[in-house]
């Protein structure tokens, strides 16, 4: 085979190969995502220490790490001060549209349960856009004035190992982690998770 023919053949093969690589990359990402989505809850967690379910950690059944935040009105609150009722903690950014839609779904359930059955803590994590004014507007548009909304000035997202916007933790009335997730929230999930805790 001459050099020219070989080169042409190689070019054609390299195009095919490139196309195959692109398709494989897309398929791998989608399959990888599906695989990860089933295992990620474990990746997010810290195992209970010495098998003690009371250990502080990020696994379901652990005592949630403590936090202290100051809301837009200047009120400071913490895990301890919110104890006595279930707490829905929602890490987001003001511009996150799926999170906004999720918050509206949560609000539906919140209103349905009398606006007093559980606490909602919205933690805004984006320093470049989550100003006090933006948070107040967000709360007016998608939340409730009885929700605790605060910018994460104390590094709570780090402590809670938040990697995605839309990460959510639900604590029971004693501050134990009862549920966590990072998929967009809907009404039915809110109800299923919170109803047993509200009792």
């Amino acid at each position: 085979m001459t050099g020219g023919k070989r080169r042409r053949k190689r070019t054609s093969h390299s195009s095919k190969r490139l196309f195959a690589i692109a398709l494989t990359a897309i398929a791998s990402i989608v399959l990888g995502y599906i695989a990860l989505s089933s295992s990620t809850p474990h990746a997010l967690t810290t195992a209970p220490k010495d098998g003690n379910v009371q250990a502080t950690g990020l696994d379901v059944g652990n005592l949630a790490p403590n936090f202290q935040l100051t809301d837009t009105g200047g009120t400071t609150f913490s895990r301890a001060s919110l104890a006595g009722k279930p707490v829905f903690i929602f890490f987001t950014a003001t511009w996150c549209v799926p999170c906004q839609l999720g918050a509206k779904e949560l609000l539906k359930y919140y209103n349905e349960t009398g606006r007093n059955a559980f606490n909602v803590v919205i933690v805004f994590v984006d320093p470049s856009s989550d100003t006090n004014a933006a948070i107040i507007k967000w709360n007016k548009d998608f939340g409730s004035n009885s929700w605790f909304t605060a910018f994460d000035a104390s590094g709570m997202a780090n402590v809670y190992q938040v990697k995605y916007l839309d990460t959510k933790y639900v604590l029971d009335k004693d501050g134990m982690i009862a549920w966590k997730d990072f998929y967009p929230l809907n009404y039915e999930t809110s109800r299923q998770v919170l109803q047993p805790l509200i009792g």
């Binding site: 990697k163 995605y164 990072f182």
Partner: protein
């Protein structure tokens, strides 16, 4: 004689086989964010709220479909274009589809990144989208997609 009918892009879209392939690619590009969001309805709502994504993303999906249709047309129907130049378009599609889709729809990528970098990528998503649209247009141009050719 209709000159427009001779443009390779239109030839690819009017050919049954390449149009089906292009349409499949465009649909996949348009709807894939519903996988990480786990809801088609939520993705469509999200898309409708985001500006300029709601305009740029469907354009990107259409261009991705056009690009694939031209590639298929050239390979399987009628050799018309320099297929060795596919890299630009493939890169453009992948960047736009995976980084430009939607600020909160990139958990597949965010899994490997710290939160701060994910937020930065999210802020840049309109930029990625615009760049991808430009790259795809250039790639289609390089594949002679806009070139008027004789009847084949």
């Amino acid at each position: 004689m209709n000159v427009m009918q001779r443009a390779v892009l239109l030839k690819a879209w009017t050919n049954k086989k390449s149009a089906v392939v292009g349409l499949a690619a465009a649909t996949a590009a348009l709807l894939w964010p519903s996988i990480p969001l786990r809801s088609l309805d939520l993705w469509l709502k999200t898309l409708s709220y985001l500006y300029p994504t709601r305009i740029l993303y469907p354009v990107l999906a259409f261009l991705t479909g056009s690009y694939v249709a031209i590639y298929y047309y050239n390979k399987r129907v009628e050799s018309c274009c320099p297929v060795s130049r596919v890299r630009t378009g493939t890169a453009g599609s992948l960047i736009g589809v995976f980084l430009g889709a939607c600020p909160a729809c990139i958990p597949a990528i965010a899994f490997f990144l710290p939160l701060g970098l994910t937020l930065t990528l999210s802020h840049l998503s309109p930029l990625f989208l615009s760049a991808s649209v430009a790259v795809l247009l250039f790639a289609i141009y390089r594949m002679n997609g806009f070139r008027v050719m004789g009847r084949g």
